[in-house]
């Protein structure tokens, strides 16, 4: 069974919660309701698109490119020619580097293919395991190269922001965000952006963005970042998304939101620490009091034994006196 989601992640949300506190003042118990900021982790997912959805996405892209060209937006080919006339957009050394990355990438891909084929025919489990290990390393290297290529591509893309293809690509990424974002909270699994049509979903996105809530902005950025990364690199493994997530903090506004979360967490930790310290102190006091009580009880018990002994002695002495007196009378 294939995973329904490409990736699942949590987004911290600051929620104002009501906390009840009980205090004793002047011998009376008073209940106080306080508003406190608390971090709640909200769960989301990127749906793993199926064949029919992928085809729909590709068709959306193609139609947007055609629409842009019809509307007079220049395609990449023409922009390249214009840049060429002006001396190109990557220097010779940059081009050489890009080509070497591509060559390395092809080379690694070939090695992975060879090892995979070899593993299909090989009998020795030991060699198979060794090959698997090599394949793992090669896959990591392959993705590192792809990432570097994507970075170069992004530099080149900057030249083409206004081209028919890049404009279409940006629209397609939004299309994918609207179609992949899933809300996984409150035991539900539903599209994050509501509505059946693309128009409805876009309206849902607009409504959310209008809310001006920091959390919403952060989350939309996270969906956008992960979806764009997936669209550009076609990664599909959890660890690849985790790796990609590391650079999310470079997006504008993310660091600030993370800081506000960290502040609340710090405050929470401080309160927790104070509470636990108070509890500890209270426990210690109670412990001391108990020890004192125990000690007092011990002393009292000893005193009682002493009194009883003395009483017995007095009783015996009294009995003796009584007996002597009786003998004397006789």
């Amino acid at each position: 069974m294939k995973n329904k989601y490409l990736y699942q992640f949590t987004v911290p949300k600051i929620e104002n919660t009501e906390v009840q506190e009980t205090r004793v003042e002047n011998g009376e118990e008073i209940k106080i309701t306080k508003k406190e900021k608390k971090i709640v982790e909200k769960k989301f997912g990127l749906l793993s698109p199926k064949r029919s959805k992928i085809e729909e996405g590709e068709m959306y892209y193609a139609s947007k490119v055609s629409e842009n060209i019809r509307n007079g937006i220049l395609p990449t080919a023409i922009l390249i020619r214009k840049f060429d006339e002006q001396g190109g957009f990557l220097s010779d050394s940059e081009l050489k580097y890009q080509n070497s990355l591509r060559d390395d990438s092809i080379d690694i891909s070939r090695k992975i293919q060879e090892l995979t084929t070899e593993n299909k025919t090989i009998a020795s489990e030991k060699i198979k395991a060794e090959n698997d290990e090599k394949i793992e390393i090669l896959i990591d290297q392959y993705y590192a190269l792809q990432e570097e290529l994507v970075k170069i591509q992004q530099t080149v893309d900057a030249f083409f922001e206004q081209s028919a293809e890049i404009k279409a690509r940006n629209k397609t990424i939004i299309w994918w965000i609207l179609n992949l974002a899933y809300d996984l909270n409150d035991d539900k699994e539903e599209f994050f952006f509501r509505g059946r049509t693309l128009e409805d979903k876009l309206n849902s996105l607009d409504d959310l963005e209008e809310s001006n809530e920091e959390y919403i902005g952060y989350m939309v950025k996270k969906f956008s970042y992960l979806t764009s990364y997936w669209f550009g690199t076609k990664i599909n493994k959890e660890e690849q998304f985790k790796e990609a997530e590391k650079n999310f903090r470079l997006i504008t506004g993310v660091k600030e939101y993370d800081q506000s979360i960290a502040d609340v967490k710090d405050r929470e930790a401080k309160v927790n620490e104070e509470t636990s310290k108070a509890k500890e102190l209270k426990a210690k006091e109670e412990e001391t009091a108990a020890a004192k009580l125990k000690e007092a009880a011990g002393i009292a018990a000893a005193a009682a034994v002493d009194t009883a002994v003395k009483a017995k002695e007095a009783e015996v002495a009294a009995a003796k006196v009584a007996a002597d007196a009786s003998n004397k009378t006789e």
């Binding site: 793993s48 199926k50 064949r51 085809e55 892209y61 193609a62 139609s63 055609s66 080919a77 076609k234």
Partner: protein
């Protein structure tokens, strides 16, 4: 030298494998043990059914406003990024390659044949480069999109759960929900099942005596070969039957004596013999037809 001999596969080393491939063609399906998938060999009509899917996708794509090849080329020409001359160049290369390939196949001298085929390869390289340049400029068009997508339907139409080829491996829903890596995996399976049906192996079967015997009985009537009409033949069966018929004809028309199969005969020796004899026959036929046409012409002139 002895090491080289180790790698040589003679006719008798290959015959059993060739018979197995033949059996698979006659059965009309292949089987993937690992995944328990029966892969049907499609008939021409079934392939047309898949082409219908291509046309459906194409129409849908056009409806969505995606540009066609022609619109894209017209736009590129209008922007001076492409030219009519380059389009003509493509057509010329295609024509030359086709002509020279046909000509090479009619060559008796292997040396001459190689010279021509080398020229074909060079032209092919040039054609590929120019087509590649055009494709990168044209981008995604309705034609390219539908070509890319309809291919997937080969999986839907070919994969079955049973050897009677009644129960499809994928339901329509399952097929729509396949993920990209699953599609690649199934294409791997498809490819591994079909890898034996190469031109080379078809030629090997078609020169094998066990096959030629059965074809010679059914030369005039395909029903005598597989008990069905041409339309029900799978593409592989059809191709094999045609090749077989050609070789039976070659045998019957050959002036040279047919090759003797001994312990060091290579399949390639037999293939070469049949190809050569066919070329000789074809050339002789052309000569006869040419002289006949010539005589008609001269008769007309004299009238």
């Amino acid at each position: 030298m002895p090491d080289e001999r180790k790698h040589i596969l003679y006719f008798f080393d290959e015959i059993y494998d060739i018979k197995l491939i033949y059996a698979e063609i006659i059965r009309g399906f292949s089987y993937n043990y690992e995944n328990e998938i029966y892969v049907k060999h499609l008939t021409e009509l079934e392939k047309i059914e898949i082409i219908e899917k291509r046309q459906e996708i194409y129409k849908r794509t056009i409806k969505k406003g995606v540009k066609t090849d022609k619109q894209a080329i017209d736009y590129l020409i209008s922007e001076n990024l492409w030219s009519e001359e380059k389009e003509t160049e493509i057509a010329q290369f295609e024509l030359t390659i086709d002509d020279n390939t046909k000509q090479a196949n009619l060559m008796i001298s292997l040396k001459q044949k190689k010279v021509i085929l080398d020229l074909v390869a060079k032209d092919q390289e040039k054609l590929n480069a120019i087509k590649q340049e055009r494709a990168s400029l044209v981008g995604l068009t309705a034609e390219k999109y539908s070509e890319d997508k309809y291919i997937n339907f080969y999986l839907y139409y070919s994969f079955f759960k049973d050897k009677d080829l009644k129960e499809r491996y994928f339901t329509e829903e399952d097929f729509n929900n396949l993920e990209e890596d699953e599609i690649l995996k199934y294409f791997d399976i498809y490819g591994s099942c079909m890898k034996n049906f190469s031109d080379k192996n078809f030629k090997k079967i078609a020169v094998s005596p066990f096959f030629l015997n059965s074809i010679s009985f059914a030369y005039e009537d395909p029903r005598l070969f597989l008990d069905k009409t041409y339309n029900s033949y799978t593409s592989y069966q059809f191709e094999l039957f045609s090749l077989g018929k050609r070789n039976v004809r070659v045998l019957s028309e050959a002036t040279a004596s047919s090759p003797v199969i001994h312990s060091q005969t290579l399949y390639q020796d037999l293939i070469n013999w049949y190809d050569l004899q066919n070329t000789v026959n074809e050339n002789a036929k052309k000569e006869r037809e040419g002289s006949a046409r010539g005589s008609v012409k001269s008769t007309m002139r004299s009238n």
